[in-house]
């Protein structure tokens, strides 16, 4: 009797434990997407290539703060720290468009990213402000903003030439290499926008500040990049309070972690 009644009782407990284990596993899964280290990629999985672009450099110092902090130095420091985190936590390969105080032209940055076969491109700036007091971060993706091309997906050169008696879109004149170069970003409108939103979300969480939002603008560098690409403007150095924050290594670490988490989230969504 006892044995007869203990059999179903033990089986019920077994099921209960199994259900709890499965539930806990499912609950823990999202935590992995929220910044925990991902498991190493499988051997057959291609290692993702993340291109980080520290803005400015060399004689192109960019913005400067009241106490002398320079935009070119902050962008390099933040990109380097984010690169380390992405490599360590996500196992991705990171390429920096500059690793020292050199002025790399925009087209050379785009070419480096394209030739490396990058999977993601994140350009980092600490831009200016008309009033000197705007401090919130902003994320941007490419959008042409021209007529009949709300998403910027219509080839701009062909459109412009067509209006001026040049080659028509469906005409016999072949597009020049310059036109193709200008269209590099057009296939990545949706994925770039998604990456910009993930960057915005993760930075808000990490630096505990309200960002200005996600915007599409005709940013020349992004136009030339043939992969999902965004530009992060971490804030204006001209604001004295924000300059003090940027001098704090802990703040930069959190911002770098926000960038790494955005890359993590993007990869998780692409799987």
């Amino acid at each position: 009797m006892t044995a007869g009644t203990s059999g179903p009782f033990q089986a019920r407990w077994g099921w209960l434990i199994a259900v709890m284990v499965v539930s806990l596993t499912l609950l823990a899964a999202p935590l992995t997407l929220m910044g925990q280290p991902l498991p190493a990629p499988r051997p057959d999985e291609k290692m993702p290539v993340v291109v980080l672009d520290p803005g400015r450099g060399g004689s192109n110092v960019g913005g400067s703060g009241a106490t002398g902090l320079l935009e070119k130095d902050i962008t390099l420091q933040l990109a380097t720290e984010a690169g380390h985190l992405i490599e360590e936590l996500l196992g991705a390969r990171v390429i920096l468009t500059r690793t020292d105080d050199s002025d790399v032209p925009l087209e050379a940055r785009a070419a480096l990213a394209n030739q490396a076969g990058g999977d993601l491109f994140i350009s980092i700036y600490a831009g200016g402000s008309l009033g000197g007091t705007r401090r919130e971060f902003q994320t941007f993706y490419f959008d042409d903003l021209q007529e009949r091309s709300a998403a910027g997906r219509e080839p701009a050169n062909e459109r412009d030439f067509a209006g001026e008696g040049g080659p028509r879109r469906h005409g016999t004149v072949a597009p020049s290499p310059a036109i193709l170069w200008d269209q590099a970003q057009l296939d990545f409108f949706n994925t770039s926008q998604m990456l910009a939103r993930l960057l915005d979300k993760n930075l808000r969480a990490q630096v505990a500040e309200e960002g200005r939002g996600v915007f599409g603008l005709p940013i020349l560098l992004l136009r030339w990049v043939r992969m999902p690409a965004v530009l992060l403007d971490i804030g204006a150095l001209s604001d004295p309070g924000f300059e003090a924050k940027l001098r704090d290594d802990a703040y930069l670490q959190r911002a770098a972690l926000g960038i790494a988490q955005a890359v993590n989230d993007y990869q998780a969504l692409q799987r």
Binding site: G55, R56, N60, G62, G63, E71, L106, Y125, G127, G128, S129, L130, G131, G132, R134, Q138, F140, D143, L145, Q146, E147, A150, A156, N157, D160, G163, E164, Q193, R212, G213, V214, F215, G216, L217, P218, I219, L220, L221, R223, L231, D233, A236, S238
Partner: protein
């Protein structure tokens, strides 16, 4: 003697009556003039302050719509300003841009550097305005994609608002086409009138 006195008295009465008529006439003219000025007679066009200024020999001028950045840098704000009248669309373009260079009078932020100069202005028959600025426009710009966007939109919106002939704007720096305004925004081709903030 009695008759002479009578004649004198009659003369004094008629003289006083004449003066009364003159004063009454002047008063009537003044009142009519005042009413005419206050009410505005049909056909005179005296219905606005501007026309009144014209009557007072004050240069009439023309009103420009100028777009500057809001204090929060999240939008453009309109400021209306009267300037000397322009003879041609070219003059009106120059006047509009010059007022942007002068900067806002109200609680707004300037979008174009005070050091910038307008070198040349040209409008082709397709409605594309070519605006040639001095290099100070780029050199003294605070930079950043957002600030560049506000500057371009301020220029674009101001020109389109004040010069109906303009459909597109091509910016030049020191006579040449340039890739970006201050490192970010693509200005190699003309910006069209629909160019605007695209927030999603």
């Amino acid at each position: 003697m009695r008759g002479r006195r009578r004649i004198k008295q009659v003369g004094a009465k008629s003289e006083a009556g004449a003066w009364g008529w003159i004063v009454s006439g002047i008063l009537l003219v003044l009142i009519a003039g005042a009413l005419w000025w206050l009410l505005g007679l049909p056909g005179t066009g005296r219905t606005s302050v501007d026309t009144n200024e014209r009557g007072g020999n004050i240069p009439p001028g023309e009103e420009l719509s100028l777009w500057f950045a809001s204090r929060q840098e999240d939008a453009l704000v309109l400021e209306r300003r009267r300037v000397a009248p322009s003879q041609t669309p070219f003059d009106r373009v120059r006047a509009s841009l010059q007022e942007l260079i002068v900067g806002p009078k109200g609680d707004a932020l300037r979008t174009v550097s005070a050091e910038a100069k307008i070198r040349e202005v040209f409008i082709d028959d397709q409605g594309t305005a070519y605006i040639d600025f001095s290099e100070a426009l780029s050199r003294t710009h605070p930079g950043g994609p957002w600030a560049e966007m506000l500057t371009l939109r301020s220029i674009m919106q101001t020109l389109v608002a004040n010069v109906p002939e303009i459909k597109r704007v091509q910016l030049l720096i020191e006579g040449r086409e340039v890739e970006t305004l201050a490192g970010h925004m693509d200005i190699r081709r003309p910006l069209d009138a629909t160019w605007s903030i695209n927030q999603r």
